[in-house]
Symmetry: C2
Subunit: 681 residues, 2 copies
């Protein structure tokens, strides 16, 4: 045995001695080296490409001669002629071991390859999809040994792929016999590998060797929008992304109005279930069209959503979620058939819903936890996913806590007089000169600031239509910094501020950000009710975070991750000026983008991650804000916009918050700002 050539695989470092003539693929399999193959070494799929290294490898104690592998053969040449093969590459099933050799397995030949995420701080996704392709050769029927075609296919999968107990649904039995004969008893099958409670299952069958791939969907089902990524289950690549408005919006803008709709209207929950499923199917058609693929090739889908959307999507009346004790019908992850949810993708497609954390902290928060992995963090991280509800996670590898806070839709531009969704024409960035009190701003769709040359031309097609969520945060924070707003949230009058842009509006004042009325456009102002709405929202967000910090027993966190589309566009400084997030060094505030969607994508591409997040969720300490007296307390204290007296020492080193107070003549006594003002006054 010790005379047999030594084979060392990189990057794994796995090594062993094999008889001369052993194919590299065989050696890799025996050593457990991650080298892909769909055809099982028949020289058909060419997934097992490897690169032999030549020369002296002191690390491995090997000198590799040029004739370490068998000669380049006709199968390899045919593949190279037909499809191309990078110089130096060989097919692992064709190249045989002749002498000691070091073999590199390039990433694209690995089954469990890493999918690179764009953000530097994010961990990579290891490919381990639910469904894989296998090429098999099936025995022909024999009258003397009668057995079904299916049984012989199952045997072939056992013999050729060591896949045991493979099952199938009826739809495969319907096509099995003609497909086997068309492929002359050679077929490619897509197999869902199953899980603890489901056996491996044949999803699809193609005659002969199937060159293509199968797809999965990672879906972020939000109250307002439904966003989906279509992923290649072989490479992990996102081949298309698309989104639509949640059609349930017509039943209520926010979650609680949808719950009310279900309570007030018999069958209302079913109406909403139908609406969201129809929307989902429209989205899937759209995304498949965009990627030019057959929807029937979508064999897996992962969904993340908040508990109310979760229940409505599943067809469960969300009644119980509208009242204490906010009991979920089910909180565990769910593995379902797509047809049960009336989704028109592959007829046997499976669907996975991440677990819910609690009655107010859904599978979307679980997905954020999967993407941002606070449970693996060395330092104490606050993860905030801002939407109509804010889901808040706080923790590190010792412990993770979670809660939800009812921020309402103000951060999404709703309930704001000139508010709108983040779409071309919306003001998204604002600066106000502290001396002149004059604003400059940028509009979605243009890179040019409003006081720069070419601005008018750059917005010619979109116009200026309103302010989006991040814009309203910035303008309010800038107003505070410019002394146009006091800590209680009152806008000063033109007299008090010395700015003609401060105009009376009802019994209070408004700040005129843009007047497009001369050209028939809108007058865009920030009113005192706008500020009150944002104060309410940010107070809810801040109070949730503070509550978790109390539970952990800290006053500061090491870092803050802002998740969600809103979190991606928000300026950390302005968020802190507003008091949305706890004090924290600015460079420690990062955006995770659509972390819920990323979590869905991780769970789609790596089934191990599903088990991981189920475990994580079980261990998370759930905090219910609705029954925590401290939450109410924090909320009342948090509605003001910080001033120098507030406990934001880091913020105070960054900005100067003017000590102004606008004791308006009228109104506003009902607002939280007003309430606080009176308490302090």
């Amino acid at each position: 045995m010790s005379d047999d050539p030594l084979v060392v695989f990189t990057p794994s470092g796995k090594r062993g001695r094999f008889p001369v003539g052993t194919p590299v693929l065989t050696a890799a399999r025996q050593l457990g080296v991650d080298l892909d193959s769909v055809c099982g070494g028949r020289g058909i799929c060419s997934k097992c490409q490897i690169t032999p290294s030549y020369g002296e490898f002191s690390k491995h104690g090997v000198t590799v001669e040029a004739d370490a592998l068998s000669e380049w053969n006709a199968v390899e040449q045919r593949y190279k002629d037909k499809r191309g093969l990078i110089d130096g590459r060989r097919l692992g099933c064709q190249a045989k071991i002749e002498r000691d050799v070091v073999i590199d397995v390039p990433p694209e030949s690995q089954v469990h390859k890493q999918v690179v995420r764009k953000r530097a701080e994010a961990r990579e996704i290891t490919m381990n999809p639910s469904t894989r392709l296998y090429y098999v050769e099936v025995e022909k029927p024999d009258m003397h040994k009668p057995s079904g075609d299916m049984e012989r296919l199952v045997e072939a999968l056992e013999d050729q792929w060591q896949l045991n107990g493979v099952k199938t649904d009826l739809h495969i039995l319907h096509q099995l016999q003609p497909v086997l004969r068309k492929g002359d008893w050679k077929v490619t099958v897509a197999i869902h590998l199953g899980d603890d409670t489901h056996p491996p299952k044949i999803m699809h069958i193609w005659p002969g060797y199937y060159e293509g791939t199968v797809y999965g969907l990672a879906v972020d089902l939000g109250s307002t929008t439904i966003a989906a990524h279509l992923c290649d289950l072989k490479t992990g690549e996102v081949v298309a992304s698309s989104g639509i408005m949640n059609p349930q919006i017509r039943f209520g803008e926010d979650l609680m109005s949808r719950v009310s709709y279900a309570m007030m209207n018999k069958g209302g929950d079913q109406e909403m279930t139908r609406a969201v499923r129809e929307g989902m199917n429209a989205l899937f058609t759209q995304i498949a069209t965009e990627a030019s693929i057959d929807k029937a090739l979508i064999v897996d889908a992962v969904f993340v959503c908040n508990p109310v959307m979760h229940h409505l999507f599943l067809g469960i009346d969300p009644f119980e979620l509208g009242q204490a004790p906010f009991a979920l019908a089910t909180s565990r992850s769910l593995s379902l058939r797509a047809v049960e949810l009336e989704l028109n993708i592959h007829p046997a497609a499976r669907v996975y819903l991440l677990p819910c954390i609690a009655g107010h902290v859904g599978a979307d928060a679980a997905a954020v936890a999967l993407s941002e992995a606070p449970d693996k963090s060395e330092d104490l991280v606050l993860v905030v996913d801002v939407g109509t509800n804010a889901e808040i996670l706080l923790g590190n590898k010792e412990k993770v806590l979670a809660c939800s806070s009812p921020t309402g839709p103000a951060f999404e531009g709703a309930q704001i007089s000139s508010g709108q969704r983040a779409a071309p024409g919306a003001i998204e960035r604002v600066e106000i000169d502290p001396v002149t009190k004059e604003p400059r701003f940028r509009v979605i769709g243009s890179e040019i600031w409003s006081d720069e040359d070419g601005f008018a031309e750059s917005i010619a097609t979109t116009g200026i239509t309103g302010i989006c969520g991040s814009g309203i945060i910035e303008v309010i924070a800038e107003m505070r910094l410019a002394g146009l707003l006091d800590a209680s949230g009152l806008i000063g009058s033109a007299e008090q501020t010395g700015s003609a842009r401060c105009v009376p509006e009802g019994r209070t004042n408004a700040y005129l950000l843009w007047d497009g009325s001369a050209e028939g456009g809108p007058r865009i102002t920030v009113t005192n009710p706008d500020i009150r709405a944002i104060q309410m929202a940010k107070a809810a967000l801040y109070s949730g975070a503070r509550l978790l910090m109390d539970k952990v027993g800290v006053d500061t966190v090491d870092r803050v991750v802002l998740a969600g589309a809103f979190g991606a566009h928000i300026s950390a400084k302005h968020a802190m000026v507003l008091g949305m997030i706890p004090d924290c060094p600015l460079e420690k505030v990062t955006s995770a983008g659509n972390a819920a969607g990323t979590g869905a994508r991780i769970a789609l591409l790596n089934t191990d991650a599903r088990k991981e997040i189920e475990e994580t969720v079980r261990n998370i300490e759930k905090v219910e804000t609705a029954v925590e007296p401290r939450f109410q307390e924090h909320f009342v204290n948090a509605s003001a916009i910080p001033n120098s007296a507030d406990p934001f020492p880091i913020l105070n080193t960054l900005v100067t918050l003017p000590e102004v107070s606008f004791n308006a003549g009228g109104g506003d006594g009902d607002g939280p700002g007003g309430r606080r003002r009176r308490r302090r006054g």
Copy 2:
């Protein structure tokens, strides 16, 4: 410990010592005694009734005093007042052990009770149904420990019933929350206990304690008729039985014409699939109505059928079954959801199809094997299920062989000039006086023979409409015994036989069994083509049996079991006169009735029997008659009707077969009888 009272359970003989005050139910559970309980010992269900025995039991070494159990209590009294309780019975959950005691568990308190089959020789069915009821008390939701209602129900099932990993479909989640609250967190659930590849699953949920039961269907899906038994899954009792004609008959009387229909008509297989499923649903509605139960309480169904029906029912094109090598799409047993087959029973109902033995020997034959258990037989048994195809099993506990023989529909009264299905008005029994050659007969619907007083009145409503399968066998055998028919199958003329009932018909003769034409009724004759049809059918049947006997290397069998409705009505003597079955002592020929249906019922009531038959089928040696030259040989030799020269020694001791030969002037040269005649002549 040895001071603790001794408890002996009968009939199991299990015994153990338990502390004073231990409830009998608890003791039974700890000893693994089969004592039923749905409520888990809460005094609600009263399924745990036991009978304490008093006196001296030398066998058990115990003397039982009258105070061996705790006193009769209020719970027992309430139950007795409300529902009645047999004297001497106690509730096992209420009666506590005080002193040494012998406890009898009556059959109705056993979970795995035996269901008695009517036939003495048949083994009993042990109850072990797929689905059982469990009463549980579920924890209320707690905001501080958020978990879904489903998760708390699953926990309760684990804690209170040791049922682990229970899953559910969406339909339970849709109703879970209101049902839990309606039952004040006490519910009864029906749980399908799963199998090797399916976890236990909640099928149904009722608020509080559910007094009722759930049902299952045992369905025998034949080419001609579909018959179903509705069974109580608790008691095993058949609560209703019903049947309909297979609606596929309009696409072809026999299996091969249906396969042809599918081949000749695009989508023809799907048409037939729809037809049989619609028929099935109509039958289920009918049977549920008859039993006055809600169809949604039918949670399990077992189907047996031949391979073509199997494929058409599953929606698989039977194309491959119409040609060698007769490859089944799948031969294994199938565990499916009823909705996959578009069956309108319980939405989560499961369906089990027995395995097929071979391309021509279906799940119906497997069911016969389960019912008649040749694999457990000490002596060599031939089991024949006569239908359009005859399925034949031969074997004993050493080995079982199986084949199928294409008998055609003649035995069912089809292809017979006066033939009809077995229905009121059909002649079913015939005797012919060997001297006068005059017949007497009996008609379905009447117990009176045609030559007895009151016959005319007894058939006043039905009339005499034709001959059914068993009638045609008897009349032909009787014709042979009376010398009206020669061994080749030719009917003699009036001159040759001396009977005016032998009338010319075409180029041959016919025997006039009944002339009702004077009253506007039919003239019922047995023609030579009728005899040819029966000769073909019986030759096929006999040849199949002979072929298996050749394989085993025997010339006789120890016993013959005739299965199927036809087998139930056929006279063993007449069958042997015709040469349908091999020579065998008459008292060793028994009828098993609808053995396929019984096999379906066994598989329905005892899930262990499913595993058992799967194993049996794997071990059966399959013989394909179509490719066995010996089959053709036997067939040619078997078309004649035995005469004294044939190797039927036992038959020859019973009857005298007249040595007649009617060499007709014309025709009939094409018939098998004719062929044989020429070969011998």
